[in-house]
Symmetry: C2
Subunit: 335 residues, 2 copies
């Protein structure tokens, strides 16, 4: 194949020729009955149910080509959706992917996005694959993913299941992606700990811990996409309870993060509480069950007093909600 052919752009090739280059690179799904090529895919749903989530990533508010490689974009788009499936206690089975890209996008760029999906599915959710999609042209690079999962006969883990007395626990990392984003905004990409950048640009959440938590007796769950404080607040609100975070557990996490990443402890603590996009899993468990391996206790659940509304606190009082808001936080510019 000549270099000219390799570097062809979206605007120069018919859709069928582009898809013929992309599809072989995509991961396949073990749950596929009818794969790509018909008007729909047909998927297995062995227990008569499936979970479904969708998320759209837009160039500008959600990522920047100045910062991300196409391979990282594929990983991030896959991982964020897989994490929502995991947060239901489900096993990811498949996803459909739509991409709209400028006409001058080289097809190799799309191939590298596909490779990111491949690597994320293969490593984070073996058996899960891409079962369909759509390719469009747009002035704004946009990646939309819808992911599915199998509850394997279990009840779904909801945000509303936390009960007074439960232990609040987390699995996965907190604070890294937020510190990474801050470094990127500060123009410090070249001098920042790569661990922080990769947490932001190609997150690697603990997908299999979703099923592990469900099997371990979790009463509620969600993935921490906006921030520990905001998302714990959502569990508190949906469950009608107060979540009390444990100061010393947070101090331990902050001390660990500070040493690992070379930031000061108060900075690390802020990132843990208010940083988003780590896609750790936040769950609650009855106090009398042992936490599954990989889960760390961060606090506990108490009932709302008569005059209280559901909220999150740390002993010193109600914590403000805070986190990334793309509606008000993005100025409309790409860089």
């Amino acid at each position: 194949m000549s270099e000219n052919t390799v570097n062809q752009t979206l605007g120069e090739m018919p859709e069928s020729a582009i898809l013929a280059r992309i599809f072989p690179r995509l991961p396949s799904s073990d749950a596929t009955i009818v794969g790509p090529g018909d008007d729909c895919a047909v998927m297995q749903a062995p227990d008569g149910r499936f979970v479904v989530t969708t998320d759209m990533m837009v160039h500008g508010p959600d990522f920047r080509l100045e910062w991300s490689t196409p391979h990282q974009l594929g990983i991030k788009a896959a991982a964020t959706n897989l994490s929502d499936v995991a947060a239901m206690g489900a096993k990811p089975t498949g996803m459909v992917v739509s991409i709209a890209a400028p006409k001058d996008t080289e097809v190799t760029f799309l191939e590298q996005i596909a490779d990111g999906f491949h690597d994320a599915c293969l490593e984070l959710a073996p058996g899960c694959g891409v079962v369909g999609g759509d390719l469009s042209v747009s002035n704004t690079l946009t990646i939309s993913v819808t992911a599915f999962g199998d509850l394997e006969g279990r009840q779904p883990l909801l945000r509303s299941g936390a009960r007074p007395g439960d232990v609040v626990a987390v699995t996965g990392r907190l604070g890294l992606a937020g510190l990474g984003l801050a470094a990127l905004f500060a123009g410090e990409k070249d001098t920042t700990n790569p661990l922080l950048l990769s947490a932001q640009l190609s997150p690697w959440p603990p997908i299999s811990q979703g099923v592990a938590g469900a099997l371990g007796g979790a009463t509620s769950a969600m993935d921490i996409s906006d921030s520990l404080i905001m998302d714990a607040g959502r569990i508190a609100g949906a469950s009608g309870v107060v979540i009390v975070l444990d100061e010393s557990a947070l101090d331990d996490l902050a001390a660990h993060l500070a040493i690992e990443c070379g930031v000061d402890a108060s900075h690390a603590r802020q990132a843990i509480l208010y940083g988003g996009e780590d896609h750790a899993l936040l769950m609650t468990f009855p106090a009398d069950v042992a936490l599954p391996p990989g889960f760390t206790a961060l606090g506990h659940v108490v009932a709302c007093a008569d005059d209280e509304t559901p909220h999150v606190n740390m002993g010193e009082g109600v914590l403000p909600e805070n986190g990334w808001n793309p509606y008000t936080g993005w100025n409309g510019e790409i860089s």
Copy 2:
């Protein structure tokens, strides 16, 4: 509520407040076990399978705000996806919808898109609803839909099932949407038959005919999104057969369309063969079964001779493939 509040834009409101205005307007799904508000929805899949399709509509190549109202956009986004579900012989059960819109988009605009989804689901696919979604900001208005359906225990209708001897039949309209698009491109919106414009801007495909065709014994199916010629060619290719279109049946359709819409018969015939986006359903049936009500025979299936590749012909020879190609057909401009 003051007018100021009503006219607030996406950039002025938190996501939760926007969703609180949109969600009550969306159609609900009869197949929902867990609805919006958790990390995933949970859907019923009674026979242990589900069909899934996805399609992304982008401002510029796929629609123009100069031509479409937001209500029409909601209808079109819903209808095109429902049509892919119908083309598998499945009953639509639910969809997830992601919208990315400029920050200065008024929330009332999003409400009207939601109303379009509501009306399309309620009328075209009762029981199907929106079970989740995502809202983002983008410089390019983009609507991504993923739709699901239930095969109710039947085998899916594939493109590969056409067999020599089968009758080729269609249900729904052909040619209207293509004539509507041509009129819009020609700047004749104000003087064109509204039937043509609505076929292009808010298509109303025969969704329930998907199940009817499956129950009626169809051997293959697809929805005609690109053109009769291109999509019949896809069934021919997937099935390894030749599809022979019947001249007199096409003449009848063209004569009817010409009278109905005030165009000449040869123009109508071109639109029927080469116009896209009508989302009629193309199916094949064994010759010994009666076509279900609403289906019109358009031709028949013959085996490929030894030296033939699968194709479509009309007696006068192989027809060229032709249809709308957004990759080469869009110049990157909005208007």
